[in-house]
Symmetry: C2
Subunit: 219 residues, 2 copies
Amino acid sequence: MSHTEYQTQAAALLETLSWRYAVKKFDAEKKLSEEQLQLLLEVLRLTPSSYGLQAWKFVVVENSDLRRELIKHSWNQDQVADASHLLVLCRKSSLNGEDVEQFVQEIAETRGVSTEELAGYENMMKGAVEGRTKDERAVWMEKQLYIALGNLMTACASLGIDSCPMEGFDAGAYDELLSLEEKGLNAVLVVPVGYRAEDDAYAPLAKVRKPLDELIVRI
Amino acid sequence: MSHTEYQTQAAALLETLSWRYAVKKFDAEKKLSEEQLQLLLEVLRLTPSSYGLQAWKFVVVENSDLRRELIKHSWNQDQVADASHLLVLCRKSSLNGEDVEQFVQEIAETRGVSTEELAGYENMMKGAVEGRTKDERAVWMEKQLYIALGNLMTACASLGIDSCPMEGFDAGAYDELLSLEEKGLNAVLVVPVGYRAEDDAYAPLAKVRKPLDELIVRI
């Protein structure tokens, strides 16, 4: 990347991050195309995760009755129904040695190596999984989904697509209404994506961030 | 954004995310400029967090003796010393109602509204903080830092800057060596940033990701 390209990219990045905000009111008439949705799913797919384990799945809720039903389980936030698409970022309900073995199989196939050559890595990953309690594994998987969230929000903004990150929802109700448990999943984060409404009162508000000198420590 | 601009941006985004990998060997001779570092810090500053609370700080470790010392507390990963810069993403050691009050003050100043008008929001945030145990607050703060990590890795890649996300380090040793506790901080994630070495054996490896049909559920 030349210096000029870098400068252009740096300016675009700052503009992107400044443009983004948590949309409170989406334009219910403006929809993402299937091609745009596929791109966002690919962004999620490419998200890094610890060891690359990808102990997650991403649910796209397209059923509009279900989306309306989810409003009351989302602190009455209409965005879950009004946004173009509703993404639910889910962790696996359980994570164990078999998931590691399957992942090692996938590495071997993708990279054309034998699983024997990956035995050391496999054992390290199994140690990381099996050294954690069930609850610790759940929290660990949940944290990875916040990487996906960070990646998704930034990627969306770079494409001029709006989003709203949501932790405030009844995960148990989501699991039940979307039959997630029987899919071996639990809802962790909810992300409506689409386009901001022209009259979203939150759009013009200045972003509130602590100054750099309060946030950064140089040692 | 025109359709052509969107297509260009979409292609650049996929190239960016495909280009990124967890660098195992950095080029110790190639340094980020101070201007580049400032941009990355601004990227971290602009990261979204729950309620916008920003219960975090970002430490740049510049002392090379300290960085060498940290290797053995980082599963012997040389990246912490060899990368151009070492970022340590930290949560606050504690989070309570006073942090909320300070944040409300900052919102009021930034947006030119009275703190009285923000009382409802303040009470909601206080409920979210005080309704959690000390341990739950810690996990909650830690999760937010994974958003910062996701944002940072994607932003870096879009600028042609390499990174390596690290969970595998002795957080207690980091806290002690960097005197984080006395700054009211705890290390959560370590991110060396800089440029990949030309001979990093991991650079040419194919990215391993599950296929979309295993990762996506449409309901």
